[in-house]
């Protein structure tokens, strides 16, 4: 017979065959399908929790930024120049302060306080309106905000301190693109500024066109940097108090404040003309200086070196069972013997939780070493199905063979049937995680770290709720361990996304996978296995004063 014919005949026969389906198969499938739903629910809940945490931190951060922005927009008008400024508003008294927030401009004059709704505006006419148009670099790494303010012309108090050189000027960078914090060496267009006094060849109140960092900002040492100030045809270098972050670099108020400080301190060495150019001959009308009451927050940017991490973990254990042939159970009692042999053994691990605390220390520019303690409990659903034989012995009296007396005799009653045992057992792990973390990227308040290392499970115990003496039989030479608590090692890899909350706290979420290298073989276990864990750690870090 040809091979193809033989194959076809065998194929047809094989395809027509139907094997008997074991009882309970559908129940198992149905149960497994039901088990999958909670798994999805757990992951969804975990994801939701992460979203809530992220949203909360974003909202929190938004509020902080709003406060900062309000501070940055506060400007001071020197009273001495008020008369000149208010030349078209002779009725006005000298302006002392002016504050701007998102919706209102508050102008405090000598004896009155005026609050005006801010509207859109284009140009400013000296003496009538003020247009403070500002593309505010509140945070380089977060967003640019554009705020347009206008005080209607019919508000006399709107006469502004920063009107100069004709009748228009603006505070803020009108069209500049804000670059990211890491690009400090790049020049950034910054707002036009007025240098308050003539200095080393720079004319009084000459417009400053650009400010750019000379050196990369040193976050770790928090050292102040120098900046280059460019006026038309002239370049200057000056020291600043900007440190640790470049936010202030594009903040004209901060830089200008530093310049003023240098001038007031009489330190002429810090402002050095570096490039002689064609000076602009047209004098700028003396108006006012813009100073800031904002000081850079150095504390935020200082890198902490020792942290304590406290987290909770939700994970789904994944099991790799040894090949179990059967499991026997024997129960004995007075005149009673029960022998049970389960050939159908199923175990399933439920979603589980853990908690951990660890110390994390910086051991390099971007590397951290972490060690701590973790406690986790994993529940295991067990289902055994097998034959049970119960034997009860009873003592009866019967006639002796001679028929003259009664003697004791033993009667055994044996019953056999199928028994299904369902139980929930548990594993408990006490582990010491030793991990290395590498800072993959860091922004102003967000950072992403890759984590890897080992979990040393120094104490792993198994609690079996099934009574009787259990004896599993495995394919191959698999023997149970001798100790009730086993030592195993897990490998771990994960990625941590953390968010700074203030100066000392960080909130983080760390999805990761824990791979079990060694099989758990504690006595009493239903099925020896390796347990891997896929899950997420959510917690917070606290920077210790170190």
């Amino acid at each position: 017979m040809k091979n193809s014919l033989f194959d076809n005949l065998v194929k047809n026969k094989a395809l027509e065959h139907e094997a008997p389906v074991p009882p309970g198969a559908w129940a198992n499938i149905s149960k497994e399908k039901d088990r999958k739903r909670p798994l999805v629910i757990w992951w969804t809940l975990g994801l939701l929790l992460v979203c809530v945490c992220v949203s909360t931190s974003l909202v929190y951060n938004g509020r902080m930024e709003s406060k900062t922005k309000e501070k940055q927009l506060a400007i001071v008008v020197h009273p001495g120049n008020a008369a000149e400024l208010n030349k078209n508003n002779s009725n006005e008294k000298s302006i002392t302060t002016q504050q701007v927030d998102d919706k209102n401009v508050t102008i405090e004059t000598g004896d009155s306080l005026t609050t005006t709704l801010i509207q859109n505006s284009s140009d400013v006419t000296a003496g009538n309106t003020v247009d403070i148009e500002k593309e505010e670099p509140v945070s380089l790494s977060t967003r640019n905000s554009k705020i347009k303010h206008k005080i209607p012309a019919d508000k006399p108090g709107a006469t502004n301190a920063i009107v100069k050189a004709g009748n228009t000027t603006t505070i803020g960078n009108n069209r500049s693109k804000i670059r990211t914090a890491a690009k400090n060496k790049r020049k950034q267009n910054v707002p036009s500024l007025s240098i308050p006094t003539a200095y080393n060849g720079l004319e009084e109140n000459q417009d400053v066109q650009t400010i750019s960092a000379i050196n990369k900002l040193k976050k770790k040492t928090n050292a102040a940097t120098k900046v280059k100030i460019q006026a038309p045809g002239i370049e200057y270098e000056t020291a600043t108090s900007i440190a640790g972050s470049d936010d202030g670099l594009s903040d004209p108020a901060v830089v200008n404040s530093d310049i003023e400080k240098n001038i007031h301190a009489g330190d002429s060495t810090q402002l050095v003309q570096t490039t002689a150019g064609n000076k602009r001959s047209t004098p700028v009308q003396p108006v006012d200086s813009v100073t800031s009451i904002l000081q850079p927050q150095k504390e935020n940017n200082r890198k902490r070196l020792l942290y304590v991490d406290i987290s909770g973990s939700a994970f789904q254990p994944v099991q790799q069972n040894a090949r179990l042939l059967s499991i026997n159970r024997t129960n004995t009692g007075p005149l009673f013997l029960s022998e049970y042999k389960a050939a159908n053994v199923r175990t399933a691990l439920d979603p589980a939780f853990g908690a951990s605390v660890a110390l994390r220390k910086s051991i390099g520019k971007k590397v951290y070493l972490s060690a701590g303690f973790q406690y986790a409990v994993i529940k295991e659903a067990v289902r055994l199905e097998g034959e049970e034989t119960n034997t009860r012995y009873s003592i009866v009296k019967r006639l002796s063979p001679s028929g003259t007396s009664l003697v004791d005799d033993t009667v055994a009653n044996t019953s056999t049937g199928t028994r299904i045992i369902s139980a929930v057992n548990s594993y408990r792990f006490a582990s010491i995680p030793v991990l290395l973390q590498y800072e993959l990227s860091a922004h102003r308040s967000w950072s992403l770290l890759l984590a890897g290392g080992f979990y040393f499970n120094v104490h792993s115990s198994y609690q079996n709720s099934i009574g009787g003496k259990l004896q599993p039989f495995y394919a191959g030479n698999v023997q149970p361990g001798r100790k009730q608590s086993g030592f195993t090692v897990d490998g771990y890899a994960g990625a941590r996304l953390s968010r700074s909350l203030g100066t000392k706290f960080q909130l983080y979420a760390e999805p990761g996978f824990q791979f079990n290298f060694m099989r758990y073989k504690m006595p009493g276990m239903i099925n020896f296995k390796r347990i891997h864990r896929a899950g997420i750690h959510i917690g917070f870090s606290y920077a210790l004063p170190y």
């Binding site: 065998v10 395809l15 094997a19 389906v21 198969a25 399908k33 159908n344």
Partner: protein
């Protein structure tokens, strides 16, 4: 209820439809599982995983070809995954001596499906897996080589030997029946 209704019900995660589908195909799929598995326990595992996979991916069935054929492919893939975990040894097995061989196709009509099934299950793991994949599921040797991570030539050799051994087993079985 037609097959299409059953499939639609399963796509909508209807538990009753899933149960009906299971009852309709469980016997044939169990047969597939037993042909790949070494014992009944393993076959039950494959059956369970296979049906869960079918329910999860039934929306991907495009009504091209028979639904039973699609299910068989799903079960075969689950079974292969299970088989690969065991690291089968594709070793040679000594041929069985038979008193007489019959090459008459009429012999097959006298052998039941269950008997053929039982004889296939008697083949060694390596032979049986390759035979199932090539002859019954219709995979090419190249596909089998990729699936089982073996050489295509190994697959061909295993198939030849499996066929020879199965023919020998059938002949022996037939002779016993005659006797």
């Amino acid at each position: 209820m037609t097959e299409n209704d059953l499939i639609k019900g399963c796509i909508n995660k209807g538990r009753d439809h899933q149960r009906l589908l299971f009852e309709q195909y469980a016997g044939k799929m169990m047969s597939v599982c037993l042909r790949y598995a070494t014992d009944e326990q393993e076959a039950q595992d494959i059956l369970q995983q296979g049906f869960i996979k079918v329910f999860d991916y039934i929306h991907q069935f495009k009504h091209e070809g028979s639904f039973e054929g699609w299910m068989r492919r799903v079960f075969a893939s689950v079974a292969i995954r299970q088989v690969r975990k065991k690291k089968i040894r594709f070793a040679d097995v000594a041929a069985i001596d038979t008193n007489g061989e019959s090459e008459d196709p009429a012999v097959f009509s006298k052998i039941s499906e269950a008997e053929i099934h039982r004889l296939i299950r008697q083949l060694p793991d390596g032979y049986r897996t390759v035979f199932n994949l090539h002859v019954i599921e219709g995979y090419t040797h190249e596909e089998i080589a990729v699936l089982l991570k073996i050489q295509a030539t190994t697959s061909r050799t295993q198939l030849l030997k499996a066929r020879k051994l199965l023919q020998a087993l059938i002949s022996k079985c037939f002779n016993l029946v005659v006797l």
